[in-house]
């Protein structure tokens, strides 16, 4: 639900709870009547269920001042294969098609939010924070993982060099953040201010940093983890190709979007859906990075034309639908039994990452001389982790079959915690900073505008 919280009375909340129970009962009836349902019908029904239950849970969670995103994730967990069993693993997998579109729109909106003026004002701060966060979080998390390795089943008994190698890979994963979670919270709260600007610019740019860092670390640690492995610059070259290709294609797409918006300007949403699906497929074939491509396109449209706000407004109109499906699917993906099994280690690693991120931010802020509010709360947007981290763990699972699968499971467990906790801190920080805008008046305004 876009816009900031609108005050709703107890009766409305009870009504929402009743509607949620009706929807759950309806889906339960479906599950009873067709216990082994599969196929397109279940995928469509699951999407509808996630949309309605995500919307209602996010509304109900508002009572506890939790972000809507938490409600969306909770809807996915509730419907997923580990709680109500409404949606099985195969259906969750098929819902990933919707995620392709969601990610494209999220990245495009992210690029559109980056204005050169804002970035220029933040460039010193961003540079310092990127350096300090990367070094400190990577170093401490690598050390923490190595120290805890004896308690982790897949690293127990590994020789020390291999242990350090896996620790470094873990460190890189710890540096990654969630652009989608950041954008979802900013979209819900319509926040504007120094913290919003910093968070968006930092999280988006850290995406690029993490990709480069992962490629470099993969190259360096291969001889440490695999006996007989050699240092090869192949993966670095591949990342260079991926980054340059993505930026070039993103720039071209951005310019084409500007031309379309200027010359035609109609049915933009249909065009975006077409681009989101088709280009994402093409990018996968070319092995380019979709997130970076769409981010660049959005950045180009915003900063090389006057069409940026128009495009952003159109994307925001789909915001709620896209975010609910995206995060509810992520919730359904959460492996709760695995989390129950690995929770002591996962929790320790999350706590360590939290502490390192917090300290690194304080240090970075002192060096960059950030304003006091940013110094106090800037870390809050850096806790969330989601798709990018999971994607990188899948890369590791392929690169190092011996330890990769174990590492991936641990990543899934820690992402589950960070994905739930991170948005709560970020929303709290935005509220404390008075950056949250909107409300009933603004919503009504938007309504009138659309009507």
């Amino acid at each position: 639900m876009s816009g900031a919280a609108v005050h709703k009375g107890l009766l409305t909340r009870l009504g929402q709870l009743l509607v949620l129970l009706s929807v759950v009962a309806l889906f339960a009836l479906l599950s009873q009547l067709t216990p082994r349902a599969t196929g397109s019908g279940l995928v469509v029904a699951a999407t509808g269920f996630l949309l309605l239950s995500g919307l209602l849970l996010s509304e109900l969670f508002e009572v506890a001042k939790l972000p809507h995103l938490t409600g969306y994730i909770a809807a996915g967990v509730l419907a997923g294969p580990h709680v109500l069993h409404f949606i099985d693993h195969a259906t969750v997998k098929r819902l990933e098609l919707v995620n392709t579109l969601a990610l494209a729109l999220i990245a495009l909106a992210g690029g559109l939010e980056l204005r050169t003026g804002d970035v220029r004002a933040l460039v010193r701060s961003l540079g310092v924070h990127t350096l300090v966060q990367t070094l400190l979080v990577l170093g401490t998390q690598a050390a923490l993982f190595t120290a805890l390795a004896q308690h982790v089943n897949f690293t127990r008994g590994l020789p020390v060099p291999a242990l350090i190698g896996v620790g470094l890979l873990w460190g890189v994963l710890a540096v990654s953040r969630s652009p989608s979670a950041t954008l979802a919270i900013l979209s819900q709260t319509r926040a504007k201010g120094p913290l919003s600007r910093f968070s968006l610019a930092f999280v988006m740019s850290s995406d690029v940093v993490v990709l480069v860092l992962m490629a470099a670390t993969l190259t360096l640690v291969r001889p440490m983890i695999e006996p007989g492995g050699t240092v090869s610059l192949k993966s670095l070259v591949s990342v260079g190709h991926e980054l340059l290709g993505s930026i070039s294609l993103g720039t071209t797409l951005g310019l084409m979007l500007i031309a379309y918006l200027r010359l035609v300007g109609a049915q933009v949403l249909v065009l975006l859906v077409a681009i989101g699906f088709a280009l994402s497929e093409g990018l996968r074939y070319l092995r380019f990075e979709p997130l970076l491509t769409f981010l660049t396109a959005g950045f180009v449209v915003q900063n090389l034309s006057s069409q940026g706000d128009k495009l952003l407004h159109i994307i925001e109109k789909t915001g709620s639908v896209v975010f609910i499906v995206f995060f509810a699917t992520a919730g359904a993906h959460l492996d709760l039994p695995l989390l129950a099994l690995m929770w002591p280690i996962a929790l320790s690693l999350c706590a360590g990452r939290f502490a390192a991120t917090f300290i690194a931010h304080r240090v970075g802020s002192r060096i960059a001389r950030d304003d006091p509010f940013l110094t106090r709360w800037g870390w809050a947007s850096l806790i969330s982790q989601a798709g990018l981290t999971l994607g990188l763990s899948a890369v590791l699972a392929r690169a190092f079959p011996a330890v990769g699968e174990g590492l991936r499971s641990l990543v899934v467990a820690t992402v589950a915690i960070n994905e739930i906790v991170g948005p709560i801190f970020f929303k709290l920080a935005l509220e404390r900073g008075g950056e949250v805008h909107g409300g009933p008046e603004e919503s009504a305004e938007v309504d009138a505008e659309h009507a």
């Binding site: 639900m1 397109s40 029904a45 509808g48 309605l52």
Partner: protein, 411 residues
């Protein structure tokens, strides 16, 4: 054709469709029934060029399903409406009678022909006849609207025809719920057995329940984004649920849309909000419907198709001629009106497509063929005759408020 190429083709059609339905160039091109997109589907499909193979078509079943479900919502929201006003009850009832009579006569003729040619017997004969009845029942709503959008003249005759066809989708779509429930058979719930008729109740009931909760949620919502989320969520839940149970998604979403239209205070706003999506959903659905068309497998099926179309045309022609005698200003237009009534809208192809996605080939093949041939023939002669009839009917009424608004807006 690969799945990706088909996806791109469908997206291009969705883009064209969204232009087709946009207010500023309202259906500025194309035919009333969108038959050209069906023809494109037939041409690309396995029966002609074979560019769209069976595998590619079936890969897009979820998209087709979502499209059908959404079209059901649109029909439901617009049921009983003529523009921004509710059609008079008397005219609605007359329209319903016409639909039911046409469908019943076509189904009875089909029943006889199926028995005579021994194409099928028993339950299959019954369901084939019912399916054929459903794809012959539609009147000329889209054709009338299409002509109205091209001519500033708005005659009383056009108003009358629009009113008559304002709710004629309802019996077709509700009967579809019965047909699919019959096909779906009994279901077990705990230790109880739900008969087929109860499953028709589940189809309509789930749509009504979701319509009720959506009307309440939309009443409490504060932005169009929230309204979209509720609409899409409820429509997809109804669509997917009924599909999983082997029931009619079109019927469930129609019941959903109709309930919303009746209960929601924001119904008019919802109609304005979702109206422009019609083209974007309809054209890809029509292409896929065309790709599903199969030629009759035997001479008996050819005869069945010919008879059903003949009955449909005869009934509509007689009704059109009869209608011309009911009003002073339409007397003498009998033949033109009779021929004009032969035109079909999009519902015929959409219902046939829904049947083809659910029913066995023995039912699906003739139903789609009848819908395709009937729509094509009706398209060739119907709109031209209707235009003549409108042109000849005297004394155009004062323009409706929305027409005035449309004229005032700068293009």
């Amino acid at each position: 054709m690969s799945s990706m190429a088909l996806l791109l083709l469908l997206l291009v059609l969705a883009y064209i469709g969204s232009l087709w339905a946009s207010s500023e160039r309202k259906r500025a091109f194309g035919s009333p029934s969108g038959i050209e997109y069906v023809l494109l589907g037939v041409l690309l499909g396995p029966e002609a060029l074979g560019v769209l193979g069976h595998q590619a078509i079936s890969a897009f079943e979820p998209i087709a399903l979502v499209a059908l479900g959404w079209i059901g919502v649109l029909y439901g929201l617009e049921c009983g409406m003529n523009g921004n006003r509710r059609a008079p009850l008397g005219r609605i009832v007359l329209g319903l009678v016409l639909t039911i009579v046409t469908a019943s006569l076509a189904a009875a003729a089909a029943w006889w022909m199926i028995g005579f040619t021994r194409l099928a017997e028993g339950d299959l004969q019954l369901m084939m006849s019912a399916a054929i009845g459903l794809v012959t029942a539609e009147t000329t709503r889209h054709a009338v609207r299409w002509i109205g959008e091209r001519q500033t003249l708005s005659s009383p005759l056009a108003e009358l025809l629009q009113d008559l066809s304002a709710a004629d989708d309802a019996p077709v779509l509700l009967a579809l719920a019965l047909l699919f429930a019959q096909l779906s058979g009994e279901h077990a719930l705990h230790d109880r057995t739900l008969p087929a008729l109860a499953m028709a109740g589940v189809t309509v009931g789930s749509g009504v329940l979701l319509g009720c909760v959506s009307a309440w949620l939309i009443g409490k919502s504060h932005s169009p984004v929230e309204r979209w989320t509720v609409l899409l969520g409820a429509a997809w839940l109804a669509t997917g649920m009924t599909k999983s149970l082997g029931l009619s998604a079109l019927a469930a979403t129609f019941a959903f849309g109709l309930t919303l239209s009746v209960l929601s205070r924001d119904a008019e706003r919802l109609r304005q909000q979702v109206g422009p999506t019609e083209g974007a959903v309809l054209l890809p659905a029509l292409l896929l419907a065309g790709a599903h068309v199969r030629w009759p497998a035997s001479q008996a099926e050819v005869a069945l198709v010919a008879l059903a179309i003949a009955v449909r045309f005869a009934t509509s022609f007689v009704f059109g001629v009869g209608l011309s005698f009911t009003r002073r200003d339409t007397r003498g237009l009998g033949p033109w009106l009779g021929v004009g009534m032969l035109a079909s809208g999009t519902l015929t192809m959409i219902v046939a497509f829904g049947i083809s996605m659910r029913c066995p080939a023995e039912i699906a093949r003739p139903a789609l063929a009848i819908a395709f041939v009937g729509t094509l023939l009706g398209e060739l002669i119907g709109p031209t005759a209707l235009r003549r009839a409108f042109g000849r009917s005297s004394a155009p009424p004062p323009a409706r408020p929305e027409d005035e608004l449309a004229l005032e807006q700068p293009q």
